[in-house]
């Protein structure tokens, strides 16, 4: 509980941004869903067969798992707010459509007859008689849709639309219950409050309801217009993968770029997704820059055979060349630290079995019980290749990155994959086994951007190149530790590093 309060105090600013994003996404989706579903339902009331068809279609749409739906939308409309809103609209259609349709078609036939007998026009009958009678049911459909939307909108964070889901993802990733609860509770509260507001609409006098609706629409429209306006000034969007390290790095990028050029504003999208997702976002101009690793480029992002045993410089040169020729992207100079894969065991385990290198594992093959990330298990430069290179026969349980450290700490597993800069290595007293066969490629971090972007923004390139050759592995472990374990904000940790290394001009 105290953790939760502390997180709340630290993250007030982020929370209000996320809350607003969440609100805008939810309400926009809801309003559009109403605009689609209500007239459609009215139109099909006199056409029961068409209505049946639409009910089936909307029910089927409802059964698509939300995560799958988001995935399906990415190739069509990319990432960010748009696909998130589209997915939410799709979910909201059924309850609104169904309730409107039933609300109107279930009106007593004698009332319809009376309206007809008095010579009411179709429109007059609709607005004076049918809609007022069906209104409570329509509104209850809208409320159902709203609760659904606010809940599902937490998934929007997965495709870079922000919102309260960011806190939940971050909480899972950093094994920080406070963050997770903050996201979950805020989202639940938002649903309850919005639901109450809609209930008020139901009882409010038509005039008050219209005024309130107008205010909400104007506020949303204004915020939309503002964001369009804000986007017209030079804004650079920098995203980072999940985790504290990319988060710290992109905060450094932001500080460096903004210190170098007063006319540029940097928007950060931390915890934006996994490697290929960010790569695609960059190619589709949804983001401008993100920190990538030389090794990851060669392994997953470009085509071509990778020679074994490259030095760090050779790895960078090859990655830079292939990115330039294959994707027209530019990889700036890398930082010092090598955040490569490593295998780690607890210090006690290491001592009992006299382990020094990965080769030593072969002797105790049968006793091994590895817990590793899905990504590591499935990669050629991960477990797959490792098993061949070291002639190891092990099967690993797949785990979320943050969970595998918990697991080894609690002796549920005895071998994990790690990144050499992970703060948990320090936190849980883990030992890295030496890669005696030089199997793991070099992973040095460097800013990745489009070649055209680099050409158009020389000041940005200069600013970011200040980090070339900086930041050692211990520096990085230390900074990760501050964020993950001491719950400091990535922004302050990044700023502290830049200031103490005299990298920020004019910023004290």
């Amino acid at each position: 509980m105290t953790n939760l309060i502390q997180v709340f105090i630290e993250r007030r600013g982020d929370l209000s941004v996320a809350l607003w994003q969440h609100l805008v996404i939810s309400i926009t989706a809801l309003v559009i869903a109403i605009i689609i579903a209500v007239p459609l339902a009215i139109w099909v009331v006199r056409r029961p067969k068409v209505a049946e068809f639409f009910l089936q279609v909307t029910s089927v749409l409802q059964t698509i798992p939300s995560l799958a739906l988001l995935g399906l939308l990415i190739p069509l409309v990319g990432i960010g707010t748009v696909p998130a809103i589209i997915a939410l609209i799709i979910y909201a259609l059924l309850p609104i459509f169904q309730n409107t349709y039933l609300g109107i078609s279930e009106i007593d036939s004698s009332i319809e007859e009376a309206a007809d007998a008095f010579g009411m026009s179709r429109m007059r009958k609709l607005f004076k008689v049918e809609l007022p009678i069906a209104l409570p049911q329509i509104i209850s459909g809208i409320r159902t849709a709203l609760v659904l939307i606010v809940g599902t909108a937490t998934l929007a964070a997965l495709i870079g639309a922000g919102g309260l889901g960011t806190f939940i993802l971050l909480g899972i990733d950093r094994n920080n219950t406070g963050l997770l609860l903050l996201g979950a509770i805020s989202s639940a509260l938002l649903a309850i409050i919005l639901s109450l507001i809609i209930r008020w609409f139901q009882t409010a006098k038509p005039k008050q309801a219209l005024i309130a609706l107008g205010v909400i629409l104007v506020a949303l429209g204004g915020s939309g217009a503002y964001s369009v306006y804000a986007n017209r000034t030079e804004t650079i969007t920098i995203a980072g993968k999940l985790g504290s390290e990319p988060d710290i790095l992109i905060n450094m990028y932001k500080d460096l770029i903004e210190a170098n050029d007063d006319h540029v504003k940097v928007t950060l999208k931390p915890n934006f997704g996994k490697t290929t997702f960010l790569f695609n976002a960059l190619k589709h101009d949804q983001i401008d820059i993100y920190p990538e690793f030389t090794g990851s480029v060669l392994e997953t992002l470009v085509k071509g055979k990778n020679p074994k045993g490259l030095t760090a410089d050779q790895t960078y040169a090859l990655a830079k060349k292939r990115l330039a020729t294959q994707a027209d992207l530019q990889l700036l100079k890398p930082m010092a630290y090598n955040n490569t894969y490593a295998l780690a065991v607890t210090k006690t385990f290491q001592q009992t079995h006299h382990l020094k290198t990965i080769s030593d594992l072969r002797q105790i093959e049968t006793e091994l019980n590895p817990g590793m990330t899905l990504e590591f298990i499935d990669r050629e430069d991960g477990l797959r290749g490792l098993k061949k290179a070291y002639d190891l026969d092990v099967t690993a349980k797949s785990m979320e990155p943050a969970l595998r450290y918990e697991a080894i700490h609690k002796d549920r597993v005895n071998l994990v994959d790690a990144y050499s800069t992970d703060s948990e290595l320090r936190q849980y007293q883990l030992a890295i086994l030496k890669d005696d066969q030089h199997f793991f490629p070099t992973y040095q971090g460097a800013p990745l951007m489009k070649a055209s972007f680099a050409k158009a923004h020389p000041k940005v390139v200069t600013a970011l190149n200040q980090l070339a050759g900086k930041i050692s592995e211990t520096d990085m472990q230390e900074m990760n530790y501050k964020v993950n374990v001491q719950h400091k904000s990535a922004a302050s940790v990044a700023r502290q590093y830049l200031v103490s290394h005299d990298l920020l001009k004019g910023v004290k």
């Binding site: 007593d108 004698s110 007859e113 009376a114 007998a117 008095f118 010579g119 004076k128 007022p132």
Partner: protein, 325 residues
Amino acid sequence: MTTPLIEFQHVDKVFNQQTAVSDLNLTINQGELFVLVGASGSGKTTSLKMINRLEPMTSGQITINDQDITTLPVRQLRLEIGYVLQQIALFPTMTVAQNIAVIPEMKQMPKAQINKLTDELLTEVGLDPAVYRDRKPSELSGGEQQRIGILRAVAAQPKLVLMDEPFSALDPISRQQLQDLVLRLHHRFNNTIVFVTHDMTEALKLGDRIGIMRQGQLLQVDTPTAIAQHPVNDFVKEFFGANRAKNVYDVYVGRIGLVLGYLDTTNVTAELSQIPEIDGQATLRAAFEILAKQNYLAVTKEGVLQGYLDRQKILDYLSRYTAES
């Protein structure tokens, strides 16, 4: 002087190959309260709904003021015809006042005038406007609801009002009160009413003329007295008989005059001005009380003298009543 308002000419109505109304020829006159009576399935409601085209006719022609109703735009036709439903069907989301204002509003009557009219009408039917104006239909009793249903139909003062079994769902007391209301409004607005019912007593009470229907056929059209005295066939006679009160005490005094005719005034020996008056809607129970002390009764309808009855006449009716049952 009677001017025809509505004329049915060889009107047929076929539903799913079943004849609901067959070769209907009927003239309803301006200013009359015409009652169509018959059992369910007799085609009376269908005939009524063909007038405002809620039911399209299969063949034949209906004219209103010599104008073929199918040549008029349907909404314009309906806007000029009041309509009262058996299910009452007040609009549940509107207040009493809003319900009454529905048609005047469509006719673009000024708002102030509508408000004044609403209050007047409410007062007319014995509902205090201050109390009832802003109530919702669900807060009213069935009888009160149908009063509003009637006001809604007559508020714009249409020349023609159609009523489809409006009181069949009401309790006997409300029914009587509303029947009286219909008569009152009929006289006040001097409109033409076509009233459908399955209740012969109601038909006899309300109708200037009555049309009796059976299985889509119009059997007889005439004044209540003529039908009572000269039923065209056994069915009409039966129908007439089957609708009388279950208990002899509840028979309307007016009915005796209808069936047997009133006394010839030359035979009345008492001073006419001293004979106690009784409304035709009163029951025999009340008549017995008077006849216990007096020899004669003067039967009135809305204050107008209909004729005289004496003990003999009543006993004659009673003996026939027993014979009939």
